[in-house]
């Protein structure tokens, strides 16, 4: 078959490339913050917040910064920036992006409530009124439980929607799988656990998060396998879409940076670290985070390349 098209629209031809670095970076940061909220909320619910100081008391502030950076990347991607406020003049029930814009509004109060459960010393000494707010919040009955549940709920919504956002875009066969929601949620949990593992000072906390990360990495590997099997057992266009990752232009990056260096190697290192065979170093967590970031870059890039028209590959 020979196809000639006279169109040469920017960002569309010869292949769709409407989203550059901004969207993968946002998906990565959003997913990691979602993971942080779920982890933090979980330990609040379990009454372990005093044992896991970093994840419960330091992460909220870092999460606020990271989600703001993610939203900045999202804003930079917009082509009609001055009209961004239009997102908040409507709620489009069929549009995951509309859901996402409202979910992002819930992320801030959830993280702030988490932050006010314990205001870090340097901030408390400079801004004493924050401590008063914190005291008021903590005096509420069951405050840790409420804050924990709120963070878990918003975290799950945030982590899942980033995947569903892509899977709802019907024209791209690689994205046409609801498994993406679960994959991004698990990857977000994994990168969040890796981040805390990297920055926590307490040895016990680091080990707890390393064990959790091992569990998330294993789950991510299984979900990735299910995602690929799902594609390979579907129609011709989806088989071709899967091949973009398995043997096509994204294969080397996928196998080396996502599967090997992003999952298998850190899983091996962290498994030995929790058994005290090697010491905890930032290498494994950094690899996990890099793998998570590259996973988003690959899925956004390859997804745009995948197409229903077979001659587009």
């Amino acid at each position: 078959m020979e196809v000639t098209i006279t169109r040469h629209n920017e960002m569309i031809d010869p292949t769709v490339h409407v989203w550059g670095w901004e969207i993968p970076v946002y998906l990565f940061l959003g997913g990691m913050v979602a993971g942080m909220m779920i982890l933090s909320g979980y330990f609040f619910l379990k009454g372990r917040s005093r044992d896991l100081v970093c994840v419960c008391y330091r992460i909220p502030l870092i999460g606020l910064v990271l989600i703001s950076l993610g939203m900045l990347a999202l804003f930079l991607d917009l082509e009609h920036k001055l009209y961004v406020w239009r997102l908040y003049t409507t709620f489009e029930i069929k549009s995951p992006m509309s859901w996402g814009s409202w979910i992002l509004l819930l992320v801030y109060p959830a993280l702030l409530a988490n932050f006010f459960m314990y205001v870090p010393d340097p901030i408390r000494s400079r801004l004493p009124f924050l401590q008063n707010w914190s005291d008021k919040l903590r005096s509420l009955p069951n405050a840790p439980i409420i804050v924990g549940k709120f963070n878990i709920a918003v975290g799950i919504l945030l982590g899942t929607y980033t995947g569903l956002l892509l899977s709802s875009l019907g024209a791209r066969p690689l994205w046409n799988s609801a498994i993406l929601g679960l994959l991004f949620l698990t990857s977000g949990l994994s990168t969040a656990a890796a981040f805390v593992h990297m920055i926590a000072k307490d040895q016990w906390e680091r080990e707890t998060l390393a064990k959790a990360d091992n569990m998330f990495l294993t789950a991510e590997l299984v979900i990735l396998a299910l995602f690929i099997i799902n594609m390979l057992s579907s129609s011709e266009v989806q088989i071709r879409a899967a091949m973009l990752l398995l043997t096509g232009p994204y294969a080397a990056t996928f196998w080396v940076f996502v599967i090997l260096l992003g999952i298998l190697v850190p899983l091996f290192i962290q498994t030995r670290a929790v058994k005290h065979k090697v010491i905890h170093t930032p290498i494994a967590p950094l690899l996990v985070m890099l793998g998570g970031l590259i996973l988003r870059f690959i899925l956004v890039g390859a997804g745009q390349l995948s197409h229903y028209a077979l001659y587009k590959f």
């Binding site: 078959m1 020979e2 196809v3 000639t4 098209i5 006279t6 169109r7 040469h8 629209n9 920017e10 960002m11 569309i12 031809d13 769709v16 409407v18 989203w19 991607d77 917009l78 082509e79 009609h80 920036k81 009209y83 961004v84 239009r86 997102l87 003049t89 409507t90 489009e92 069929k94 549009s95 995951p96 992006m97 509309s98 996402g100 814009s101 956002l165 709802s168 875009l169 019907g170 024209a171 791209r172 129609s235 266009v237 745009q304 197409h307 229903y308 028209a309």
Partner: protein, 179 residues
């Protein structure tokens, strides 16, 4: 409610691109961008080759993914005639509609909003044909209401073999090619 559609006779189309020029002129489409275009597909093995020349544009789908994914309601289906349009002052330029269109029919206008074929709704509302249809020198393009069984487009689809583009995408395209 009308259901506007376009029928294009590929046996008459010669790919002269008059439709492309008419669209750019009528709608002031910026340089380097196209709301419609010509696709030439040659299939088979020599000497039994078959070439189809198609004038393509937004398919004004009955199940439009671009409308479903739009976070602000900028992409919408016109209440009266099923034409898919974009409110420029609601569009934030997120490009989800570009990514969701299996026909790659949308683009970002230099002013920042998503743009595409409108079926020349401003002409249709005055009882005229879209610009591309009105200029076609081989009269291979037909425009009309599919809900009217006596319209020319309905009759052509009843009488002639035809196909739509990528029906497997589930979008219910409203542009049909006679073969």
């Amino acid at each position: 409610m009308a259901r506007f559609a376009m029928v294009i006779d590929t046996l008459k189309c010669v790919g002269c691109m008059d439709c492309v020029v008419a669209c750019k002129t009528e709608n002031d489409v910026p340089e380097g961008l196209n709301r419609d275009w010509i696709t030439t597909v040659t299939e088979g093995k020599f000497p039994t080759l078959r070439t189809e020349i198609r004038s393509e544009r937004c398919n004004h789908c009955g199940n439009p993914p671009c409308v479903h994914c739009c976070p602000t309601g900028a992409s919408h289906v016109h209440d009266l005639d099923g034409v898919v349009l974009v409110h420029h002052n609601l569009c934030i330029g997120c490009k989800a509609c570009l990514a969701s269109c299996p026909y790659d029919a949308r683009f970002i206008h230099p002013k920042g909003y998503a743009d595409k074929c409108t079926f020349c709704i401003h002409r249709v509302e005055k009882g005229l044909d879209p610009a591309c249809v009105s200029v076609c020198p081989t009269h291979c393009m037909y425009f009309g209401d599919l809900d009217d069984p006596n319209s020319q487009v309905s009759r052509l689809l009843q009488e002639r073999k035809h196909h739509a583009l990528l029906p497997e995408a589930g979008t219910r395209p409203q542009i049909f090619y006679l073969i």
